[in-house]
Amino acid sequence: MKENDYKKQLFANNCFHILKIMRIILFLIFLSTSTVFPNVFSQNNIFSFNFSNNTVKSILLEIENESDYAFLFADDLTKEMDQKVSTTVESSTINYVLDMVFRSTNLSYQIIDRQILITRKSKNTTLSSGLPSNTQQRTTIRGKIMDNKGEPLPGATVYIKAKPTLGVTTDLNGEFTFQVPDLNQLLVISFIGMETQIVNLKPNVLFYNVKLNIISTELTEIVATGYFQRKKDNFTGTTLTVSGEELKKINPGNIFQSIEAFDPSFKITTNNLLGSNPNSLPNINIRGVASVPTGGSGEVLRRDNLSATVNMPTYILDGYEVGVEKIFDLDLNRVASITLLKDAAATAIYGSRASNGVLVITTIEPEEGKLRVGYNFELNLNVPDLSSYKVLNASQKLEYERLAGLYDYIGASSQNELDELYYQKMYNVVSGVDTYWLSQPVENAYGFKHSLYLDGGSQNIRYGINLQYQSAPGVMRGSGRDRYGIGAELSYNLSKKILFKNVLSVTKVDATESPYGSFSDYVRMNPYYPMTDEKGNLIRKIDSWTDRSGTGGSLNTEVVLNPLYNGTLSSFNKSNYLEVNDAFSAEWNITDQLRVRGLISLNQKKSENDNFLSPLSNDYYFYSSADLAKRGRYFYQSTTESTVDGNITMTYSKGIHDHFINMALGTNIRENTYNSKWLTAIGFTNDRFSNIGFANGYQENTAPGSSSNIERLFGSFFSLNYSFKNKYLLDLSLRADGSSKFGTDNKVATFWAAGIGWNMHNEDFAKSWEAISMLKLKANTGLTGSVSFLPYMSNTLYDYYKTSWYSTGVGAIVNQYGNESLKWQRTRNYDIGLDLGLLKDRLYFTGRYYYKLTKDMLTDITLPPSTGFSYYKENLGDMKNVGYEIGTKLNVFKNKDWSVMLNGNFIHNSNKLVKISNSLKELNNKADEAQTNDDYKGVPLLRYNEGQSLNTIYAIRSLGIDPENGKEIFIKKDGTLTNKWDVKDIVPICDATPTLEGYFGGSVYYKGFMINCSLYTRFGGYEYNQTLVDRVENADPRYNVDERVLNDRWKQPGDVALYKDIADLGTTYVSDRFIEKDNTLEIRSIYLSYDFGKDILEKLHMRNLRTAITLNNLWRSSSIAIERGIDYPFARSFTLSFQANF
């Protein structure tokens, strides 16, 4: 209310007293403080009212009272002001209202921002008329410096051009107060990375809003660390900031793939099994893998299964930590920007969570002003990409079966019977049956997305509401992910000193897996099998094969069932979650330099999984009638996860002459509670009754299960950033963290980072440089930690025997040795970098080199069983990641209508196990054992050896196929040759790591049209071609196989063939024959957009309108022909989007 009183008084005094003295019109900036929305006005300044015979003055007063407009007029207008008018307006703009009010007067008006200047119609009152007779020696002017997005720029320099020593810097709100000697001066406003602007002081203007333009995107980025912000220019950490708009240009449906295109060190592990399943969460690591798997029993791993979950970066959304699924389901339209923090100097404030890098995401905040409406529509088409599959057609397949000897008499059936079988199949082939099974479970999937965003408000209150709905069906029929979201943000700015903000968001996701099962089931189906009978009904049992592979050589019949049949049933596998998040923050600007900010976020996520397998499913085809009541299965799981995350940060920034200091002190507390329960029921009567209530009972020998844990984290940090003359930079960070995950002896650990930088282009000697517009060198080092492990590992834990009680009561038994001295896994980081801008930053280049040594790696230590345990957790083992990153950007051409840009980002990361624990060595023995069993016979398993990388491929050296007999020749460890495969001869062959991988592309802009292209490449690495083993050499001739079986396998003596004897049905084990060079080029994204011009927008009353098409994963070429998407195929995706802002 005080504000309102002030304004009224101002109105009165200004109009009738001060102006009398000044006799001129002053442009004063009024604080607009309308905190209530009046009945006569709607909040977006659309007016409706009815006045009859009121004075102009009273009408204006009323408008001023109820809106955020202020009127200014000279005192000699008193007469006109007292004129009485009558008018009625409905839903009209201020212009219309004033036109109506002044229609019968000789007054005219001019709207300047929120001030309305009232003058006489005939009088020539220009802005420059009537210079003031300035009696004061010094005049105080005020102003606000902002970037071109309207964000305030704290620390900008403001000085008098004629007298550079006289100057001030802006405060945290980008505002300044400056006592100038007189108003006939030129004001120079500068800020690093912004174009310096010169403002001509105007005698009658005391408040200046100045927007500075960005020189180049890279330079002016603000690094949002999640706790506070730093100007990238005087920060020595390695970071990457990308706006949401830019991300959308790469892949509107996948934020992770978009980030990877800007920085390939943010690496998504390709999952060849899950392909483009819309429900598979990505595995991500930044700058290499820093942890090795620990998994209790220490399971043997396929190389492609090396879980990145322990190497996942930390995700910070608007200041609080979230899980990867939250980001996965986040609407990209909501993202203002992402910041990737990669090295110690950037991440050390996250202490124990920093080792794997931090991804900071900020969402769009409401802007003040009239109600704005943003609407985004996307139509998405996913097309299955089956191009990597090259299977045999019906006649080829039958020919292969013949060559493989399936119809040669070996005792299973008589030759007559075999011939009959062969000719039955031949009949199918000849009669034209050639089913392309691969296309059966897939479809072109259409999805769409609506996002609506409303925002607006005054300087005091701002609001934003967002709504979104997205359907993202996958290419396997029936699979998909539907996302619903609603969010509301309200911020209240109390007297500019205190700001409250609350963001509430609700997300719901429904995910469905395809009932059609694994894609591989379709790939193996023989093309000569018809899908349906003559009547068009699906055939369930298609074929059966008989051989003598049973116990003791008894007859064994293998039935071939139609996998499509499962898809016709009511089986489902659905999961959904509902997540509610509320984040409340308060900010107090104690002084211009000192600010305190607190944030508390509450998050609750409830998820459910319902998985029903119909009793009619193929899985139960072989159930005997005795087990009739056991058919059908329902798995239900319910999980609740709650998180409280709070932090308080105090920031201080001050520039004194050449020194500029930024400091931050903060503390952070987090608690995460996870609780999950599940059960499995069996015995369903028929396909229709899919409710769990129809189940007959629990699954045999199972009981309801549950899992629950609590994780707590408490940390405090201090961060200092100092720059001298913008030339010499220093960063220091320190964090102490305590976590419930670690042993009682080591609950708290400290982490730190230090960085230095040199902006050479700001040196005096650099002024003579012509080509080099920017040159910055920086280096930093630090110690960071990682805790992506299960909690309670430091506790000795007891489990209960729930199902088998002893006669004297329930028993509890220890299940884990709690190592109380468990420490944090720590990574020592070194990072050096160079930023170079040439030819006025038209060519921009960055280079980084890093060295990460992870010490005290948390691994399992194998114990002799007499200790009572098989292993325990210990900090033992070191791993090294060394790499470099190169980024370059070239502005080829730029003028008003045209711009052409090229860019490229490449990385190389090499990984080395420096020291490993005995349990990892033990895993090698297990791998040797597993290597000979059926599941892993042809799979190069992950092995651990000091000096080798986690990406090393282990196999037996091979000379290839002997043309004499079609057998493979192996090289033993001692160098001798043999035909006999022995697991002991497995040696490290090569490192799969590519020499270089990354993205390159470019964009062209012409008068509103834009095309952006992003290509991915990797080369110089190796890959083990699993397809050659599984689908060529170990192919089961009874099922469909890769076409190379027929074309490239050895058939007769003298054949120089790549693959062994076609009639050899023996097992092929892992050998280096299948390791191929992996040089790949992919078109990941093509983006085309058109921004409609101003004239059209005005007609449509729009602020902007854009339409765009994005093509993702369009084309791929690789030196290695491997089947991709084993359980779920990959997809190409096309997105058409419209974006409109009103």
Binding site: V748, N795, Y801, S807, T808, G811, G868, S870
Partner: protein, 481 residues
Amino acid sequence: MILLLTASCNDWLDVQPDATVSEKDLFNTEEGFYEALNGIYTRCAQPDLYGGEFTVGFPEVMAQNYSNSIYDYTRYTKTSIFDFTDPDFKSRKDNAWKAAYSSITNCNLILKNIDNKKNIFNTGIYEIVKGEALALRAYIHFDILRFFAYSYATGKTQSAIPYVNTYSNKVTPLSTVDETITKILADLNEAKTLLVKTDPIVLPTYVVGYPNDEDATEDANSNLFLQNRRHRLNYYAVCGALARVYLYKEDYSNALSNALEVINANKFPWTDPSALLEPDTKLKDRIMYNELIFGWYAQSQKTLLLNRFGSTETGQYIGYDPARSLYEVASVGAEDYRFKAWFTQVTNQEGPCYEIQKYMREDKDAENLHYLMMPGLRLSEMYYIAAESSYPTNSAKAWDFLNTVRFHRGIGTPLNQNSATDFISELLKEYAKETYAEGQIFYNYKRLNKNITSQTNVIYPASPAIYIVPLPDAEIEFSNR
């Protein structure tokens, strides 16, 4: 300031899980100690220990008590010919070793915590819990010793097994056979002193009997934990175990005194032959339940035991001739109740043979006369120990002890030959009959360093080749001893 804040948060950071329970929380209450102790018994009654391998498993196979089908569905054929490199045998005995030491670790955890928590116990409970934990530790170690190490008679100074009596992740060095036995005896004797004070079984009011027996008081105690003392290592069980260990150590006087303590307590009545011969299978006593001084409650192993013995096609059985010769059916054993109660003649792919019914159960547990138990210590064994221990000093008494058992089993002909060799031979015959499928006879052969004769009359001479089972590879590889 930072450090101060974080330090004060240490308690807050000390999170205890709720689906499982931490050591600290478990040992905060008396009930927690009950659960920890019950847990060890439950653990021991699993198939990898006394619920399978250590009772009906490899000692019986190695004692040549089973016949093997040529298809070897049970994968015990290699074990029966003492092929210790067979992967099935290796994984079984490695798992048994692991399970045994895991149980021992649980004993050590109780013993580590119990003395600090003495004040939380009701009267008498502390002694029982501590006594049983000590006894269990010794009992399990003794079986590991008997299986993996030299016998006392053949190699008492040989290095044997680690005697683990602390809770730690540190490797315990190997003890010799003699040292191990000394430690076992120390634990058992300490247990005996603790249990004698408060074990309810010592009281005259504790009457042994079948669960539905009205005179029995085994489940009369209001505290479930104090019921069915014979399902846990009670005072007499500790005496019995001591007798067994002293005998192994050839300390006959201590063996005798401990055996006699059990015998003279008159706690355990001989089984009425009619219960063994009962035609109504629901009223049949298949294991001479009341004579058990100690047995493992193994109700949850019902299915596994059924799989093992329920089919002579795929499970374990005994051939027609071997069974009849074992029980001397053609001569003194014609009326042996045990043979009649435990074996049913059937015909499988290899001809006539006997199905082993010792552990057979009715479908519903409540329909059985007794619980499903894996025998640990029997009254008859006390007589055998007493017999063997007194033979050097009083052979007539020794024959008396042996004849008493024979008499209760339906062998009316008393024995009193004068040769010591005959005595041992007759004693072992009785051991073999009495403890069939209970895992004891093998250790008696080993203790006395006897040759083992297979069912096809192959003689395996007594030697380390059949009596010394190698320690698990993981034990050797990761101990750096």
